[in-house]
């Protein structure tokens, strides 16, 4: 079955700490991978995406993610978090299924950064 797993549900970090949020997926065939962020009271925004090519993808606000095909993973990283990074982060997989593309989201990781 197609699925996306985010193992960390809640993460609390101090400012300047490094961040890594895990994402693993189960999806047959070619996939596109995304990380979205949802700041408190705001809508989903795209952080970064991977379609093909260099498996290390750089996104907005200093975030990056690495696609490791052998591990079915697409972990999100940031070397030094800021208080403003407090938000919920969603990993998503987009793949071809039953004749069309469909998005599957992970359950989200709620990040709190302490000032």
């Amino acid at each position: 079955a197609q699925s996306v797993s985010q193992h960390n549900h809640h993460v609390i970090l101090s400012e300047a700490a490094s961040l890594e949020l895990g994402c693993n997926y189960s999806y047959g065939g070619t996939v596109n991978l995304f990380w979205y962020v949802q700041y408190p009271g705001q809508h989903l925004q795209l952080l970064l995406k991977y379609f093909s090519g260099d498996p290390l993808v750089k996104g907005i606000k200093g975030f990056e993610a690495e696609f490791i095909k052998s591990k079915f993973s697409f972990n999100l990283r940031k070397p030094s978090v800021q208080w403003s990074d407090t938000a919920e982060y969603f990993c998503a997989v987009n793949g071809f299924s039953s004749g069309t593309y469909k998005y599957i989201f992970g359950t989200g990781t709620r990040l709190k950064v302490l000032a």
């Binding site: 989903l44 593309y101 998005y103 989201f105």
Partner: protein
């Protein structure tokens, strides 16, 4: 920069009533989607729409739900007879191709 917009931002309705949630995608979008997020739960795919027809729908998208793009700009989600469990944030998304999506701010639906 153009953005996907949704109206209303918050809709309160009585159980059994019909609601229509509206979305205005960016003008070059050809692919359209609805998702919902029940409070505290993950985002769930409802339906995708392309070329004026549904291309895929999830098991959540039963006969109570329908979508249409009546005037070539607005993309609407109709819930015919709302249930308490329909209370959620409903997100519209659009994309110029089927590989990416831009989300609207969402409509919070509260069914009493």
């Amino acid at each position: 920069e153009p953005e996907v917009t949704q109206t209303p931002s918050h809709q309160v309705t009585q159980m059994g009533q019909e609601v229509i949630l509206r979305c205005v995608p960016i003008s070059n979008h050809l692919y359209f989607y609805w998702y919902r997020q029940i409070l505290g739960q993950k985002v769930e795919f409802l339906v995708s729409f392309y070329n004026n027809e549904i291309s895929e729908k999830s098991e959540i998208f039963d006969d109570q739900f329908s979508v249409e793009r009546p005037d070539g700009s607005n993309f609407t989600l109709k819930i015919r007879s709302t249930k308490l469990e329909d209370s959620a944030m409903y997100f519209c998304a659009g994309g110029a191709d089927d590989n990416e999506q831009f989300f609207g701010p969402g409509t919070r639906l509260t069914v009493l």
